[in-house]
Amino acid sequence: MRRVRAPFLPALVLLVALVAAIPIVTNNPSLREELFLVFMLVTLASSINIIMGYTGYVSFGHIVFFGIGGYIAFWLMQTFGTHFLVAAVAGAVPAALIAVLIGIPILRLRGAYFALATIGINEAMKAFVTNFEPFGGAVGMFFNFSIYSTYGGARDAAQLAYYTMTAIAIGTIAASYAVKRSKFGLALMAIREDQDVAMVVGIDPARAKVIAYVISAFFPALAGAAFFFKNGIIEPAHAFDLLRSIESLVMVVLGGIGTVAGPIVGATVYEWLRGFLITNPTFANFQLAIAGLLLLVTVLFVTAGLVGWLRNRFPALQAYIQ
């Protein structure tokens, strides 16, 4: 263990906050929209990294928590006119509780079985919500515009959603860092390397895994609430989109699995790349195919991801980039 630690977390949080301030200072709504999405992806990727990168459990259907949080918060706001911030928390807490309930049985599964189970849970939840009339069934729900008047109109509401998403992203990054540097994080990484050995040295894997799963479920639920609040519409296919789930895994791997900075870098690069491909006339049609090709190259040749590669290439950086 190094004794001298670079102030990694404060530097990272400051960087995120500074970037977040750019569209506000320059009054650039389109950049704000882009960053809103990037911060959401950072939240999703960093959360998945806690259960997947640190603990070694590939939560394929992780988007289920994004959907649950989004749906509960949306329902509260639409039906009772609950304030957005209250609704977001009120959506995330049940999502975390659901993570406890499903985490206890499914975290006993290992490897591919766990990955399949999380897909099954996401699809089951999507199919259930599609039939659940209080949540609008297959059509979903949409806001009456008057809801935004509480927040001073749609523009201010979008602004509020942006600040909230920034705060959620920063919170996720801080949690990710705190977990990684703690004794609890060491326990998770021991489980990742060898669960049986971890048990022998006195770790309770079942407990540690469920806690990690709950932490990684809480933040996506908050992000879901903020995303659909700003969106004004929520529907099952959009809330429980397995593709978005897989995309966040891709971001983690692209940036560097198991590192704090990796998911942030991965989410930013992925979103930037997608924006570039979609708007570029030559590539627009082939953006999916190109994304696939890049993913394959990363998986086959840059297994450590961008951050991991940097850390391995320049060992001096290891003190500065977590």
Partner: protein, 287 residues
Amino acid sequence: MSLDALIPSAIDGLMLGFVYGLAAMGLTLIFGVMKVINLAHGPVIALGMFTVLVLSQTFGVNPYLGLVAALGIGLALGVVIYFVAVDRVINAPELTTLLATFSVNLMIIGIGTVIFTTSPRAVDIDLGAVRGSGITILGTHVVSVVIAIVVAAALYAFLFRTRLGKSIRAVANNRAAAELMGIDSRRMLALSFGIGTALAMTSGGLLSTLFSFTILSGATYEVKSFVIVVLGGLGNPTGALVGGIVLGLLEGVTTVFIPVSWVPVLEYVIFVLILLVRPSGLLGSRA
């Protein structure tokens, strides 16, 4: 609920189950041999659909002859996918192979969307129908069941009666030991991926004679295949066929009792429960 409605939908579901089972056999074969969950399974099923469509619409080939082409193309495509995406990471943790096969999924869907767009298509085929007392069985369904059974039987003959098939089973059983016996495990893995892909494309071809489809339709059948494979036990081809029939029957019968839209909820709940209670599948031994 009257028996009149139950029997026809049970028969319908049963027949569809054979086609589902065929697709799932492809997925489970690949998992059984190399412990890879093939996330390119759905797009490959869709490619089978479009192979039959293009051959019959552009070249006037009979859809069932088109199936033979789908089988052949599938075999070759599977071997290519194996060497491009899987071979290098065959011993890596499951996340790596999941993402590697998912990248193939993205590429197929990406290119397929450009070529075929996402508008719905259908293969024009009518083989008449057999009508009994209140029961109508479409000719296309009967032929599909027969073909599914023939292909499944051929797979069994191959795996159990030929030297090559036995080599594949040896590699599935214990790769290191198989290599010590002089089996080129890499070739067997590539061949298994080819066969798995060929099965998926064939079943896609059969599905194209039954329903309309788009390039994205494979995703639905991919998830169904997951459910079936887990029902039958991951890596167990017999289980996959049985699982397919069970799922088909379940879909057919439950629609009589509950609204169609609730059927997926039931399917996925069963899926997760089986994973939790009997991960080895309904047919598997209690491990």
